[in-house]
Symmetry: none
Subunit: 96 residues, 4 copies
């Protein structure tokens, strides 16, 4: 088998093989985007349902956002602590 041809299909996407790969990637991505859209619609439906039960959608959204921010902040704090610990460890090593 010609070496050049083989290399080409493996490294730079050229030729039929590349075309097949491309199609495969596109297909997979578009499939997942459909899934994502479906999930988004499910979320929207729940908000509509909540509204039908008398809840204020605006407030509900805020509550959920607030919960997300709380989680985020906690994660940030954990990361900060980790960073501090790394810094202290480095400092200790330096002092040895």
């Amino acid at each position: 088998m010609p070496k050049a041809a083989k290399q080409e299909t493996d490294i730079i996407p050229v030729g039929d093989n590349a075309n097949a790969h491309l199609k495969s990637f596109i297909k997979r991505i578009e499939r997942l985007e459909e899934d994502k859209k479906a999930v988004s619609e499910d979320i929207k439906d729940i908000y509509t349902e909540a509204k039908g039960t008398g809840f204020d959608v605006k407030i509900l959204r805020k509550v959920i956002k607030r919960r997300r921010l709380t989680r985020q902040k906690r994660e940030e704090e954990d990361q900060l602590i980790e960073l501090y610990e790394c810094a202290i460890a480095s400092f200790k090593e330096m002092m040895e």
Copy 2:
């Protein structure tokens, strides 16, 4: 307990029942948001994989966007055609 009062908890969210409902809505929404995030990450992974195969991610994104827009346009056209057909059918009926 009067039946009317019980019904009310289903229509206007007040009291323990409302609280339970609220929790349920939040739980369901947050669950779906996780799903959505997971799907987004899967999509990102595919782009990364494509990149590893030598594709230009930026261009690939453009291609997929184009396809989406084309699909949208086609759907809109189909709907328009359907509308025309309905109009023609109505017109024919009127003329009978």
Copy 3:
């Protein structure tokens, strides 16, 4: 004065006047973008300065981000409380 011409310059941006307006908008925006860039550079300089004084830039960034999140969360909470108050007020009105 011809009425048509006057209307045109006021409602749809066409003609010399529009051109002058456009230039003015572009000039103002580009001026502000320069300002913004300058501020960004000032911020970067401070980080560099802090680094020179022995601070860990990564940690410093995290600290600032954490503070920003704290502020954001507080704002979200305030907005939520406001929303609650609006909802209660509406409810009261309904009951009158």
Copy 4:
């Protein structure tokens, strides 16, 4: 107090001095970030104003982006020319 110790507080951030420095850095950075945000909002306001005058914001953004890219390209070209000139000058010197 030994002079060396005092110096140290300027080089490695430890102790009260470091704390004061840290606070100062944070304060300055947060101040500038506020400025930056204000400028961003000013820019947004101008776009809104332009919209009110009948301009298409999306297109206006594209125009400004184009101008920025053009400027960048021109600057890069100037730098390149400068490089050439330096090279030629060196060459001339060598030939003397």
